[in-house]
Subunit: 400 residues, 2 copies
């Protein structure tokens, strides 16, 4: 194995959850062939966050060694409706919607993958083979698998437990996804673990057809930026490839400290040596480490110049006690208030009095740059005054 390949294996270890199997993967690398890496594009939700991008970056590293990314646009299977992760029937998309979504997906994927060399990229549609497939051929595929195997999939069992319907085309969906690997001659696929069941069927059908079964790599998942569930669009706790550099930077800065290291490991290119140094510092200087993470994240997608600029903007705005250019305005009647009363008006019930009082005792409230320790502190001549609450909430007062 070349040094590059060994470096790739080491790099993959940081983002890999499981491999079926690592021996087979090493064999593939040693084979000297150009590998075909299947990547199924979800055309129903063409939205990528940095978690999805982990897979793309791994593929990018393979591209850099001369291997080929094979995007599979499941236009046929999308018309059928993938049940993965769904407790109810998926809506079926029209051809136009699929084309639009594919366009949006490619715009984001371009931030990671090499699109410049046709030898490194292939875009395929599974309608190529499924539009021509006869019912008889489909039945022959179905004859090779048992009901017990398909219904054993965890999400189907979950639906049964919940008394929810499974429609027959949904039960069959994994067969189609598996057979895609045969048609693509996939050597390798890099997926989220929720796709493992379907891709194992790929190995099954490939072996039946006399092909070498594809290697399957599932990738690591971290909590979302709120430190809780994994990143998802509906929860809003993600860093999206479509987010502006400023937004990416700010979102990275908002994560809980215990995520700094996992995020650095999984979502950035910081070298393993530097990771080790940062691990030693994170408890002492979390803010510096988090800045490094935010910088590296922006750098990865937008380059050094933009990362530099966003870091500078962030530091000037938030860390040097200058207030940001735009901030929300609280309009109140002129008069004398205590500090707590002003905050109560601004948060309008979204924080309890206890929470607000705690912010004061933590030194997290400031007025025009001066920390306010006492909630009952009287404040007046408020027109134009700037309050800061916690790390990222700022507002300006206007008297009326």
């Amino acid at each position: 194995m070349t040094q590059d390949e060994q470096a790739l294996l080491a790099r993959f270890a940081r983002t890999t959850e499981s491999m079926v199997s690592s021996e087979e993967f090493q064999d593939l690398l040693r084979s000297g062939r150009q590998l075909r890496i299947k990547y199924g594009v979800d055309v129903t939700a063409p939205f990528l966050h940095i978690g999805h991008a982990v897979n793309l970056w791994m593929i990018r590293q393979l591209q850099d060694l001369g291997h080929k990314a094979v995007f599979l646009i499941g236009d046929f299977t999308t018309r059928i409706g993938d049940p993965t992760g769904r407790n109810k029937l998926r809506p079926v998309l029209s051809r136009e919607e699929i084309a639009d979504n594919m366009q949006r997906f490619l715009e984001q994927a371009r931030m990671v993958l090499r699109f410049d060399d046709p030898r490194l990229l292939e875009i395929r549609y599974n309608s190529e083979w499924y539009d021509a497939l006869s019912a008889q051929e489909l039945l022959q595929l179905l004859a090779q698998v048992t009901h017990a195997r398909l219904i054993g999939r965890d999400m189907f069992q979950e639906r049964i437990r919940q008394g929810l319907d499974i429609h027959m085309h949904e039960l069959i969906y994994p067969v189609l996804q598996g057979y895609d690997s045969v048609m693509l001659h996939s050597d390798l696929t890099i997926i989220g673990s929720d796709q493992l069941f379907n891709e194992m069927l790929g190995r099954f059908y490939q072996e039946r057809q006399g092909q070498r079964p594809q290697v399957i790599i599932t990738t690591r998942i971290t909590p979302g930026i709120d430190g809780k569930a994994k990143q998802s669009k509906s929860l809003g706790n993600y860093i999206g490839l479509g987010h502006s550099p400023r937004d990416k930077f700010g979102r990275a800065m908002s994560i809980p400290d215990e995520l700094i290291l996992p995020y650095l490991e999984v979502y950035t290119d910081v070298s393993t040596e530097e990771l080790r140094e940062l691990a030693a510092q994170v408890a002492i200087e979390p803010m510096r480490c988090k800045l490094r993470l935010a910088y590296e994240l922006v750098c990865r997608y937008h380059g050094e110049a933009v990362a530099e600029q966003e870091q500078q903007w962030f530091l000037e705005t938030f860390s040097t006690r200058r207030t940001p250019d735009e901030m929300p305005v609280l309009t109140i009647e002129a008069g004398e208030y205590n500090a707590l009363a002003v905050l109560q008006r601004f948060f309008a019930g979204s924080k309890s009095n206890r929470e607000l009082r705690r912010l004061f005792t933590q030194g997290a409230v400031s007025l025009n740059g001066e920390t306010l320790w006492v909630p009952e502190q009287p404040v007046s001549a408020l027109n134009g005054a700037v309050f800061r609450v916690g790390k990222r909430t700022w507002f300006r007062v206007e008297e009326c």
Copy 2:
């Protein structure tokens, strides 16, 4: 409703187990339209006994009122493999085997149905529509049914209980059989109850396609001629349409007395009035009633002349103590034996000594027309002697 139609309803009541629904069936008869009666031919086992023929006779009565029998040759679905009543995967037949089997089926069906008028008969192959069906169209059919509905079929549940595999094409089979009804515009199908599940799917798909759902009639099942399980080829306890008139007559004569009436009701054309008379006589004169059954059965398939002739042959042969023309020969060395020893040699272990001794005490063993009551009775000069054992076993002895 015409008198003929009312007669048909009364006649159907004798052989019907269930109807979905009888109101719908009466509506169909009243409609004045020519009805299309779907009859799925089992081309894997093209063998008809009088139980199967019950369905054909009902269709014949509908033909006689001008309705059309639609034979459906499931050549496509047979290539797939019908799991009905199977605990393991069905072997898949070649096109040649299917054609051969179809020929054999038609030879038997000709004994019942009218083949002389093309307005009364249509022969269809489901490859007509399934060969042209795309995988996508099949998936659209599958999208309409749930897993719970298909897996609920009793035979699938039984397989699960037994830990046996269900292959996915088997699970889907009922969808195809159901969709056949749509393609045939079936008004009515007359089936064994093991097909009810599949034909209910026919109603389901017909309604979905805006068709009036077919009426389903399931037919009565009697025990086999041994009085035990229903007639089946493997048990040998049946009267086959392919049996010779003599064999039909003899098999009918061999049934237990308690089956005489059910057999007359289900398998013959004896009028309902005469049935009532026979019901009164069967306890007093079972042999006369059984002769009537055997006569009617042969008459139904081979006509009066043949029935007359077989009845005469049977009476002369078995009832007047004359021996049949052809009988098996037992070759033994000349010498003196006791009667039991001769029977032992003839049955060669297929009956135990206890069974044989019981036959003697029942007076069921005779030598040249004389009952032998004692197993140890010496017998000699056996060349040409005729033994009778029970009602129907005869053999001649030849000394060597």
